[in-house]
């Protein structure tokens, strides 16, 4: 099983979620993060003092999937999240050793 972590632009969440459900993904976990990268932040002025907001708001999607469909998932996310602009984000694939569904105690793929 793989864990896929995608850092995307917040307003892309809706379409990514739809893309994932379309390919049969039933679960994911989302959180708000701040991103630092090529995409530069913006300048703000507060009472005459300028300052840079170097971190841009991003949304992080985490989902664990069966190894064989990992690539499909990555593609789906990419297509939905891609706007061709700097700052679109990254997708990371990590190995997962096991999963458990708390409610049932199931393990492995059944638990996803």
């Amino acid at each position: 099983m793989k864990k896929i972590e995608a850092i995307i632009k917040p307003f892309k969440l809706e379409s990514v979620k739809e893309a994932l459900t379309d390919i049969g993904i039933t679960g994911m976990t989302v959180s708000e993060v701040k991103g630092y990268g090529r995409q530069k932040g913006h300048k703000e002025v507060y009472r005459g003092a300028e300052y840079n907001v170097e971190f841009n708001p991003k949304t992080k999607i985490e989902l664990v999937v069966a190894g064989e469909i990992a690539d499909k998932v990555v593609e789906a996310i990419r297509n939905a999240a891609n706007s061709g602009k700097i700052g679109d984000g990254k997708i990371f694939i990590l190995p997962v050793e096991d999963v458990m569904r708390i409610r049932t105690g199931e393990r492995g793929k059944e638990a996803i």
């Binding site: 703000e44 002025v45 507060y46 009472r47 005459g48 003092a49 300028e50 300052y51």
Partner: protein
Amino acid sequence: MKMKLKMKSRTYWGGAAFLACLAVSGPALAEDVVSLGDTVINLAYALDTFYFLMSGALVMWMAAGFAMLEAGLVRSKNTVEILLKNIALYSVASIMYLVVGYNIMYGDGNGVIPGIGFFLGADHTAADVLASNGETYYSSMSDFFFQVVFVATAMSIVSGAVAERMKLWAFLAFAVVMTGFIYPVQGYWKWGGGFLDGLGFLDFAGSGVVHLCGASAALAGVLLLGARKGKYVSGRIHAIPGCNLPLATLGTFILWLGWFGFNGGSELKISNIEEANAVSMVFVNTNAAAAGGLVAALLFARAWFGKADLTMALNGALAGLVAITAEPLTPTPLVATIVGAIGGLIVVTAIVFIDKAKIDDPVGALSVHGVVGIWGLIAVAFTNPEGSLVAQLTGIGVIFAWVFSTSFIVWFVLKAIMGIRVSEEEELEGCDISECGLDAYPEFTKD
């Protein structure tokens, strides 16, 4: 509070009762005219007193305005403490001014050395009022009420400038001296009929006695306190954005509203045509100056920084109010708008330069109340025929010298005894936890 039970038996002029004596001749009639005249004096006294009380209530409301403005312009981790400082200082002021301040300010001094006394005397009796031939025309208790809320205003100015780093208890200790002694003394010099008043120094509602006074005390504190950690690092100025701008805006609206009582009530009388017109003019000019200040500051900030900085606009409105406070009666509304607008331009400039001078004033109190307060006092020389530049400058000098020096000493002593600044640790995690043991917004994630 049931009406029927509270009606006093005293009988006032009653048309009905009077119809009876229509027949009767001169003397009787004359007596009726006298009793009627007394009733009219009673009425005028009541109206002026009511006008005072309503004005005072509006000024009391300004305390909430300062609390919201400051709570909106600090970081969330210092919000509880600034709220507590604001409502506590208002309470301290109410008590100290009652105990001794009012007596110092309006006692009989020799012009320089004020008199002293404690607590409040009895109010005017009806007989005294009727005998005073118009001299005594409103309740002395209503006068106290109107005066006490002014002291609180002066002290509120201080809390903003020293926010986010000053110890709560040191601040309240200072408030005791400020509201019980420092403010009343200079208040006596002007409004108590002291030497500044004799010099022809004009300050209608307190650009100097209240605002410059508060700012001078604040400056002394800020200099001894130093800037917030992280504000000026390796020569660079770091902006520390306020955490809740809707609160700051609400605070400004509250102050704007309260100012109608602050300036409007300072005419001190409304019960005849001239006075009613005067109070109305003060209302119109106060509103015009605030509007002028906001628009000028907004446009100026936009031109200078490329952004329509809300916080500068708010400070602009307050600057307009402070600027017109020294003389809201004699200028025409157009002139008042201009006086306010200049105040708005000044405040934006002042905030930026004071920041460049590495004097850390989280809410801009020094600029709004100090720098613009001075402008307001100087403007009087041009807007009021009776004003003289020399007298105004003298007043400015005297008030600043007195308040700054005495405050500096008090702050200094406090620093020696108990310390006036929280520890670096506490400042980092915020004063709220260390001083008050509470979060202002415990459920909302913070940076």
